[in-house]
Amino acid sequence: MSVSREQLIDFIYDEARMLDEGRYDEWLALWLDDGHYWMPLDYKQTDPHLVTSLLYEDMFMLRLRVERLNGARTFSQKPKSRCHHVIQRPFVDEMDGDRFVTNTSMHYVETRLDEQFLLALTATHELRLVDGALRIASKRVDLLNSDAAFGNIQLLP
C-alpha cells in the first residue's frame, strides 16, 4: 500500500481536530509505542536530553497527561481548558517508503475562564506506515517564542 501526499496532509488535519475536540483516546492510538512528543525550550534546540525542554514525553507521560485532564481532583481543569488549532496546509518534506516527514505552521489558541492566549508554532511530524495505517513516530513542536515566559499551557498544541 502506498500513501499519497493528500493522505498525509489529511492525517495532520485530523490529528489537530482530535486535540481540539478532546478525543484523546483516538489521539493516543495514533502514536507508535516508542513515540515522543517534543517541545524544545530553546530556539533551534538539538538535544532533548541534556538541557531542559518544555516537553519531551513518551507514551506513558502522554497517557498520564491526558488521563489527568479528566481526573476528579484535577483542580487546574475545573473548569476545563479548551483549545483551537488553525493550521496552514502542511508541507510534505519527506516521502521515503513507509516513512514520512511533514512540516506544519499553526496558530494555537488555548482558553480557560477569562484568559486566552495564542501561540504561533511549527510542528514537525515523523509518520510511519504500519499495518496499513499512518502512525506518529515523533512530533516536534517549535514555539515561535519558545524562550518567552509563559503561564500555564495545559493542553497540547
Partner: protein, 436 residues
C-alpha cells in the same frame, strides 16, 4: 505605612496579614528594603565563563548585569547608562568584548563599570560631569560574593556580610557542588521561565509546604501511580515514575523527613530523607565520587538527600538533583520563576538527563505538576482579596513563642520555616527603616 512598627504588626507569630501578599505599597517597600539590604541570588559564574561575557537579570525590581571583567572577576552592575538611563544590554546574555558601549550616544565603560570614553568629550569641560556620580561610569551594586560558583549580591553599600547572612545554610549549596567529582557545576542551557499571577512569597512558602503534595498533586502523581498499577507495577520503574511517584508519599513520610531552619529565613525540608532518596544508582557515578573523595567522604556527600533548601528571600535549591529556582518578583501579584539546572562536572551524563527530566516534568509551564501548584497560588491570590478575613494562618506545630536565631530541626510537617521566613522578612524590611 512606612514605619517599622507597622511592618512588625503584619506578623504576629501564628498568623501573617494578607496585605503582605496583595499590597502594592508593601511590595514597593520590599523592593526598597528587603531586596536592597538582603543578599540576593544573581546567577552562576558558568553563565559568564569568558572575559566580557555578560548575563542580564534582576535583583528584586532592579535590572542588573552580571559580567566577567578583564581580570577574570565577576562584577554586578546596574543595567543603566549614567547618561540618560538607557539599558546597556537587553539580550539575556552575550559577550561585550573589552567594554560596554551605550547604543544611544556611545558613552563606553570598562567591564567593571568605570567610564572609558565619551564622544566629543570637550563638550563636558567645565561642566562638573567628572565630579558627579554619572561621570564615574555604570554603577556597581553594593557588594558581590561568589560562593562556589553561585553569584550573590547586596544592592546596599552597607549591611550584613555574606557569611553572617547565610551561615550554616551554605551546607546545602556545598552539598550540591560536592556531588561533582570535580567539585564544580556548570549551568546546562537556559532556564525554564514560568509566569505566575501570584505574590513571590507564596512560591517560597510552598517549597517547604509538606502537607500539599499528596493533596494538590493527587491529580498528577496520583494518576501516575494509578496508571502504573493498572500496568501491573512493572519493574524497573522508568525515571519518570521515580521522579513523580514520591509526590504521593503519605503524611508520615513527610513528617519523618524533618525540617531544619537556620537564622535569617533560610531552611530546608528532607533532614532525614526526601523524595529524592530512592533514585536508582547511575553506573560509574559512585566510583567516580570515591576516586575523587575517598569512600567515606563520597558516601557522606551522597547520603545527604535534602529536599528543598530555601535561601531567603527568593531562591530554592535542590542539591540531589542540581537545580535552582529563582522566584523573581515582578509586582505584588506577579512572579517570574526561572528554573535552572546544572551539570556535575566529571559525572556521567545520565545524572544530567534525570535532572533535565525533573525540570521539565515539575517546573515547566507545560508541567502537570506545575499546573497543580499554580492553580493553588492563583486561587489564593484571588481569595486573599476577600475582606471576610484579614489573616493567613501559619501556626502548624507552633505551641508558643519561637526563637529563630538558632538552628532548629523539627517534624517535617511544621510550618516553622514559613514563620522563619516572615521573621526574617520583618527583620530585613525594617533594618533601615525609621521606628515611627
Amino acid at each position: 505605612m512606612t514605619n517599622a512598627a507597622d511592618i512588625r504588626a503584619l506578623f504576629n507569630g501564628p498568623q501573617v496579614h494578607r496585605d503582605v501578599y496583595t499590597s502594592a505599597e508593601l511590595y514597593r517597600l520590599e523592593m526598597r528594603h528587603l531586596f536592597t539590604d538582603a543578599w540576593i541570588f544573581v546567577g552562576h559564574d558558568s553563565q559568564t565563563p569568558k572575559k566580557g561575557d555578560y548575563f542580564t537579570t534582576q535583583i528584586g525590581d532592579q535590572p542588573v548585569i552580571q559580567v566577567r571583567h578583564s581580570d577574570g572577576e565577576i562584577h554586578v552592575l546596574h543595567n543603566r547608562c549614567p547618561h540618560k538611563g538607557t539599558k546597556i544590554a537587553i539580550d539575556r546574555d552575550g559577550n561585550t568584548g573589552k567594554f560596554f558601549r551605550c547604543p544611544y550616544h556611545a558613552w563606553s565603560f570598562k567591564t567593571d563599570g568605570c567610564l572609558l570614553a565619551i564622544p566629543l568629550k570637550k563638550g563636558y569641560d567645565g561642566t562638573g560631569l567628572g565630579e558627579s556620580e554619572n561621570g564615574k561610569g555604570m554603577k556597581a551594586v553594593g557588594a558581590v560574593h561568589v560562593h562556589r560558583g553561585f553569584v550573590f549580591a547586596r544592592l546596599a553599600e552597607e549591611g550584613i556580610g555574606f557569611e553572617e547572612y547565610f551561615g550554616d545554610s551554605l551546607s546545602s549549596l556545598d552539598n550540591m557542588v560536592d556531588r561533582s567529582p570535580a567539585g564544580r557545576l556548570e549551568v546546562a542551557g537556559p532556564p525554564l521561565r514560568y509566569m505566575h499571577q501570584c505574590n513571590w512569597k507564596m512560591l517560597v512558602e510552598n517549597q517547604t509546604d509538606t502537607c500539599h503534595p499528596m493533596v494538590a498533586h493527587e491529580s498528577s502523581a496520583g494518576t501516575a501511580v494509578k496508571i502504573w498499577e493498572e500496568m501491573g507495577n512493572p519493574e524497573p520503574r522508568p525515571v519518570a515514575m521515580q521522579i513523580i511517584a514520591p509526590f504521593m508519599s503519605p503524611y508520615e513520610f513527610f513528617e519523618d523527613m524533618g525540617i531544619r531552619t537556620w537564622p535569617n529565613g533560610h531552611g530546608h525540608t528532607g533532614v532525614n530523607h526526601s523524595i529524592h532518596s530512592d533514585y536508582e544508582a547511575i553506573p560509574g557515578y559512585f566510583e567516580a565520587m570515591v576516586e575523587a573523595y575517598g569512600e567515606e567522604r563520597a558516601k557522606a556527600i551522597l547520603d545527604e538527600n535534602r529536599h528543598n533548601t530555601v535561601y531567603f528571600p527568593n531562591v530554592m535549591v535542590k542539591g540531589p538533583i542540581q537545580q535552582l529556582r529563582n522566584f523573581i518578583p515582578l509586582g505584588p501579584s506577579r512572579t517570574l520563576v526561572e528554573s535552572y539546572i546544572y551539570r556535575l562536572v566529571d559525572a556521567p551524563d545520565e545524572l544530567l538527563a534525570r535532572t533535565a527530566m525533573y525540570n521539565r516534568m515539575i517546573n515547566a509551564p507545560t508541567s502537570i505538576v506545575g499546573h497543580d501548584d499554580l492553580e493553588m497560588y492563583e486561587r489564593a491570590q484571588e481569595g486573599l482579596l476577600s475582606d471576610g478575613m484579614e489573616w493567613v494562618d501559619v501556626r502548624r506545630l507552633r505551641t508558643g513563642p519561637e526563637d529563630f536565631s538558632e538552628q532548629d530541626v523539627e517534624n517535617g510537617t511544621t510550618e516553622r520555616q514559613m514563620r522563619n521566613q516572615f521573621d526574617a522578612w520583618v527583620k530585613f524590611m525594617t533594618a533601615s527603616m525609621e521606628d515611627a
